[in-house]
């Protein structure tokens, strides 16, 4: 995945963040990451088809259209999907930058989102949860901050379409269910979601932590590029096992049948209470958009 880079000074930092976020938001909406495009092509060329699943004679054709869609979006500079999502912003703030943040950094990020919405002709998709009044500019975004060492500011934007977000779930399991129970929760959720979340996408899974932390792990899992496994051997095995179980469901692209229902499964883990086993599934559609950039001071 190509990472945008920029330098800034203490004086220019606020404006740089606004402009940078604006560009990242537009890039994310329009350019499907290369790893996702490659995975879609691999899915299209998939040879083996278990006899147990429904035969979809249009399988290749549907994936060709999904691939073509990504190419048209890049060429024409229009969003890959009309649901340009609610922007989930992951901010990694180098502790060394601290003294230079003399402004409201969250407001600067939201100003960038506001400008990106206008510049990229993105859809305004954020509303008050109760009145349903649209904010008109995709603000406020959802911002998660981590303080890290160094003097860089890393910003990743994951525009999250909610056809797939709505098919996500959190399970507070009993530790006794073990790895079987975890697998069953994830696969059952993908089965229940069926055609709704625009498969084949990425299944982000969080295991452990507390209820809130677990959901965030699942979302962070979606930032990992396709093809990159978790560094722990047992978790890598679990990712592989989940992916093959999901693909045996036969839901296929757009729920119309076929051997690929998910392009990838990413699992993130965190220790949890001795009484607890939280498992979160964050479903990401085939338009698995993300863009990352680094501002160096």
């Amino acid at each position: 995945m190509s990472i945008l880079k920029r330098t800034a000074t203490r004086e220019t930092l606020e404006d740089t963040i606004k402009d940078f976020v604006c560009n990242l938001a537009v890039k994310a909406a329009i350019e499907l990451p290369d790893d996702v495009l490659t995975a879609l092509k691999r899915a299209r060329d998939h040879k083996e088809e278990p006899r147990t699943i429904h035969r979809n004679y249009h399988y290749k054709n549907i994936l060709d259209i999904i691939i073509k869609n990504a190419l048209i979006a890049r060429e024409e500079r229009i969003p890959i999907c009309q649901d340009t999502g609610i922007d989930c912003v992951f901010l990694e703030l180098g502790a060394g930058v601290g003294g230079s943040i003399t402004f409201d950094i969250y407001e600067a990020i939201n100003e960038g989102i506001r400008q990106g919405t206008k510049k990229g002709f993105l859809r305004a998709s954020v509303a008050d949860p109760v009145t349903r009044a649209n904010s008109g500019d995709n603000t406020p975004s959802i911002i998660h901050t981590d303080i890290v060492k160094g003097s860089d500011i890393k910003i990743s934007i994951l525009p999250k379409g909610c056809g797939s977000e709505n098919m996500s779930a959190l399970f507070m399991l009993s530790p006794s269910v073990g790895i079987e129970g975890i697998t069953d929760a994830v696969v059952s959720q993908v089965k229940r979601a069926g055609p709704n979340p625009c498969p084949p996408g990425i299944i982000g899974v969080g295991i452990g932590g507390t209820m809130d932390q677990c959901a965030l792990l699942a979302k962070k899992a979606l930032l990992r590029p396709i093809g990159v496994h978790h560094e722990r051997d047992d978790i890598r095995d679990l990712e592989q096992r989940l992916l093959s179980s999901i693909n045996r469901l036969g839901i296929g692209p757009l729920g119309l049948g076929g051997p690929i229902t998910a392009l990838w499964v990413s699992v993130e883990v965190y220790p949890c209470h001795i009484a607890s086993l939280p498992v979160a599934v964050n479903y990401q559609c085939h338009a698995a958009r993300r863009a990352t950039g680094i501002i160096s001071l």
């Binding site: 699943i53 429904h54 979809n56 004679y57 249009h58 054709n61 549907i62 259209i65 999904i66 073509k68 869609n69 990504a70 048209i72 979006a73 024409e76 500079r77 229009i78 969003p79 890959i80 999907c81 009309q82 649901d83 340009t84 002709f121 993105l122 859809r123 305004a124 998709s125 349903r132 649209n134 008109g136 379409g161 056809g163 709505n166 089965k191 229940r192 069926g194 055609p195 709704n196 979340p197 625009c198 469901l249 036969g250 839901i251 296929g252 757009l254 729920g255 119309l256 049948g257 559609c285 085939h286 338009a287």
Partner: protein, 180 residues
């Protein structure tokens, strides 16, 4: 792929022979409407007020497009997930709509109502809004402009692709692919 071609306006006879799993392409006028427009339309129906357009024989497309950039007719405009419209759909069908286009499963109530009214539910390519945008020759907001992307749109389309999910005899193509 084998396809059946449709030109609007359509009548009951046109959709009668369609079966789950068949591909169709549509040329003519379709109406874009998602959550908030559905809410408004049903409120108007319940208050016995006139609708912005007659829904008799209408094709309703669940969509909230992105704004069109200056060099294009339309922005990205793929389907949104249909189940959110389930609560409103029986009244929309009672008002005469004959085909609904979206993505994803419908409720049992909607499926029964489709059979009763002789209407069909179609799915088009979710997440392929840029591709589908190429089929659009004209787009216009016809009601509720204050709803922004949730306004009601009139779209003139050419060769707009869709697959029959629920037909008038009660078949469900998603169930045929993967029974729940």
């Amino acid at each position: 792929m084998t396809k059946k071609f449709f030109t609007t306006p359509i009548i009951k006879e046109d959709v009668k022979g369609l079966r789950a799993g068949e591909w169709v392409t549509i040329t003519g006028t379709i109406y874009g409407a998602r959550d908030m427009t559905h809410k408004r339309l049903v409120e108007l129906i319940e208050e016995d007020m006139p609708l912005p357009v007659s829904l008799k024989g209408a094709i309703i497309y669940y969509v909230g497009p992105t704004p069109a950039p200056p060099n294009r007719v339309a922005g990205s405009l793929g389907p949104t997930t249909s189940y959110r419209m389930d609560a409103y759909t029986p009244k929309i069908l009672d008002a005469g709509a004959l085909a609904l286009i979206g993505k994803g499963r419908r409720s049992d109530e909607v499926k029964e109502h489709l059979v009763r009214r002789g209407a069909v539910y179609l799915a088009t390519f979710g997440g392929a809004g840029a591709y589908l945008s190429e089929c659009v020759k004209e787009i216009e907001v016809i009601a509720f402009p204050e709803l922004g992307p949730e306004a009601m749109f009139r779209l003139e389309v050419e060769g707009f692709p869709a697959i029959v999910i629920n037909d008038i005899v009660g078949n469900d193509y998603y169930d045929m692919v993967m029974p729940l």
